[in-house]
Amino acid sequence: MQAFTVHRGIVAPLDRSNVDTDAIIPKQYLKSVKRTGFGPNAFDDWRYLDPGEPGMDSSQRRINPDFVLNQAPFDQASILLARKNFGCGSSREHAVWALTDFGFRAVIAPSFADIFFSNSCKNGLLPVVLAEDEVQTLFEQVEANPGAQVEMNLEEMTVTAPDGTVFRFTLDEDRRHRLLNGLDDIALTLQYADDIRAFEERQRREWPWMAEHSQG
């Protein structure tokens, strides 16, 4: 996983609440068996005027000029700003892969859906929760001054707005540590292999039907 420490970039204002993962990456692209290549199809239904299918050359498609990510300088954005309940719906991690493949390193919203939040942290995409009025302030600043940069600092857990205002956020220590260091979750967990085996031993003793019948 790509580590996240400090990032400075352009913010794209996506003024919608309840942005669902079906909107972030529509279902036809989930047929891919790869982890990469989803960027051109991020927000596909909103970004293009013609229907998209896997394998199409997206550079040849008709773009929707009204959609924020098609407008300069937001087409170069690396931070996405949205309203509440971002990433709701389907658990598809492809939504996170689409955002990172597009070039996003962070998303700021007043709230996130739980599965999306978890998936983000596992892919080096920093999800930052700010209060609604702070998000509103960022929307106003970014819309008044397109291309203004925002700094995201995970070490300090701060977001510095274009006008220099500093907003603080929190992230639980475990996730922060893994993101800061870009750690491989599985290798860390396997350090506790003995604990897992001990649990299984206990389960066989106390709840024998779980193990004995799991083979069907």
Binding site: N18, D22, C88, E93, D172, D174, I196, W207, S214
Partner: protein
């Protein structure tokens, strides 16, 4: 000290290790796998030279991409076919339990888990699918995960989790005739909103929930995620135990009785404290129809499409306006004047035998209305289909002009050939009415199987009781 919630009990029984900050390594008993969210996980495992920690915890099945017609011809779309073949190669090379498309036990992963007894009370159940909450209806802790977590569970049999808060949603009293589990859960989401359960595990309780069958409870738990909660659950009672008895993968004989004794403890203690409690009066719940592009946008069938002008919160009003524009609906339109083009009865929410019986009861002796271009019934599994055919339900649907299909996720998310065309309106028993969910530009109205069937017959939304005599 306060007693324990059902969530506390399920959680505590699976803690492998707890860090000082509360991060917990949680043991996973059952891992359900489908073709869409697993290929990258198997690839990751392979690249790292790892093998599954406990292969016998896995049950794999293709469901999202499978065709629901002309199965003997295989999967026409080469991209879908590759994905399904990739699943088969991945799981068979590792010797994992797998129901291929031709197996009568194949079906939607959340239908076949309980059907096979692969999910049992007291288990932790995960799947790379947000509707994994369905299995909570059996008194299990079941939640959806992303692909990185699928790989993590394959490799370690565990997940790092933090215990969430617990919410109890208590629905008390008697449901009115014609009001189903689907209406109850849509009404709940309408009340608490699509983020109302974020950060919580929800226990559905109260006399109205207890009165539901296990299949009805599954429809409710299924849509927990539409209220923002990763997990939804219902306490174990005798209905749960009778449901599990004699299922193929359930324990039998003395071991079953021993298990049942433990399962009976899987209820919240009377003095358990929840972080939030929501109370609803069952008698006030009417059949529901969604009008917008978020599952919280619902109205009773007796109601009207709301007017954004009457909404005081500007962000919310803007969302409503956008939704009505997408749905091509005018404010204040009576719900009964909305006319679908297609009807879809299926999905992990509503494709079990009781759902098909409820729809068939409405359809029996009637015909599909002329304005309905397609009414399709997609059973949740091959075994549900077989059971329905034994009961003659397929004939009822076919005689009425419906299509009777093979099992799969189908037009709930339109990854296979079943989809809406741009602008088409659908009465759907599925779980999500997001923009483009059932096909780009398609418009979804979420309803119960009985209401979907009634809409197919009348050509517009209507309470089944208001239909003319068959």
């Amino acid at each position: 000290m306060a007693g324990k919630t059902l969530y506390d009990k399920l959680w505590e029984a699976h803690v492998v290790r707890e860090e000082p900050d509360g991060s917990t390594l949680l043991y996973i008993d059952r891992h359900l796998v489908h073709e869409v969210t697993s290929p990258q996980a198997f690839e990751g495992l392979r690249l790292a030279g790892r093998t599954p920690w406990r292969g016998d915890s896995v049950l794999a099945v293709p469901d999202h991409n499978v065709p629901t017609a002309d199965r003997d011809k295989g999967i026409a779309d080469p991209v879908s076919r590759t994905q399904v073949e990739t699943l088969e190669t991945n799981v068979t090379s590792l010797g994992l339990k797998f129901f291929p498309m031709a197996d009568v036990r194949q079906g939607i992963v959340h239908v076949i888990g309980p059907e096979q007894g692969a999910t049992l009370p007291g288990m932790t159940v995960v799947c790379g699918d947000s509707h994994t909450s369905t299995h909570g209806a059996l008194g299990a802790l079941a939640f959806g995960i992303g692909t990185s977590e699928v790989e993590h569970v394959l490799a370690t049999q565990c997940l790092w989790q933090k215990k969430t808060k617990a919410m109890q949603i208590r629905v008390e009293g008697e449901l009115r005739p014609g009001v189903t589990a689907k209406d109850v859960v849509l009404a709940i989401i309408g009340r608490i909103g699509t983020a109302g359960g974020t950060g919580y595990a929800i226990e559905f309780a109260g006399s109205a929930i207890r009165s539901l069958s296990i299949e009805g409870r599954m429809s409710i738990c299924n849509m927990s995620i539409e209220a923002g909660a990763r997990a939804g659950m219902v306490a174990v009672d005798e209905k749960t135990i009778e449901y599990v008895r004699n299922k193929p993968q359930a324990p039998s004989g003395e071991l079953f009785e021993q298990a049942a004794e433990y399962w009976r403890t899987l209820v919240s203690d009377p003095d358990a404290e929840f972080d939030a409690v929501v109370e609803m009066d069952a008698a006030e719940i009417a059949p529901q129809v969604s009008w917008g592009t978020s599952p919280e946008m619902v109205a009773p069938i007796t109601g009207r499409v709301p007017d954004p002008a009457a909404e005081s919160d500007p962000v919310r009003a803007e969302g409503m306006k956008r939704a009505l524009e997408y749905m091509d609906l005018q404010p204040n339109t009576p719900m009964t004047e909305i006319r679908p083009d297609k009807v879809f009865i299926g999905s992990c929410t509503n494709s079990r035998i009781e759902d098909l019986r409820a729809a068939a009861e409405v359809v029996k002796g009637r015909k599909k209305a002329d304005n309905i271009k397609l009414a399709m019934v997609v059973p949740g599994s091959g075994l549900v289909k077989q059971q329905a055919e034994q009961e003659g339900l397929d004939r009822i649907f076919l005689d009425a002009g419906f299509e009777w299909r093979e099992p799969g996720c189908s037009m709930c998310l339109a990854m296979n050939a079943d989809r809406l065309e741009p602008g088409e309106r659908c009465a759907s028993t599925s779980n999500r009415n997001f923009e483009g969910r059932q096909g780009q530009g398609g418009r979804t109205h979420l309803v119960s199987p009985a209401l979907a069937a009634a809409a197919a017959v009348a050509g517009h939304f209507v309470e089944p009781s208001a239909l003319k005599e068959a």
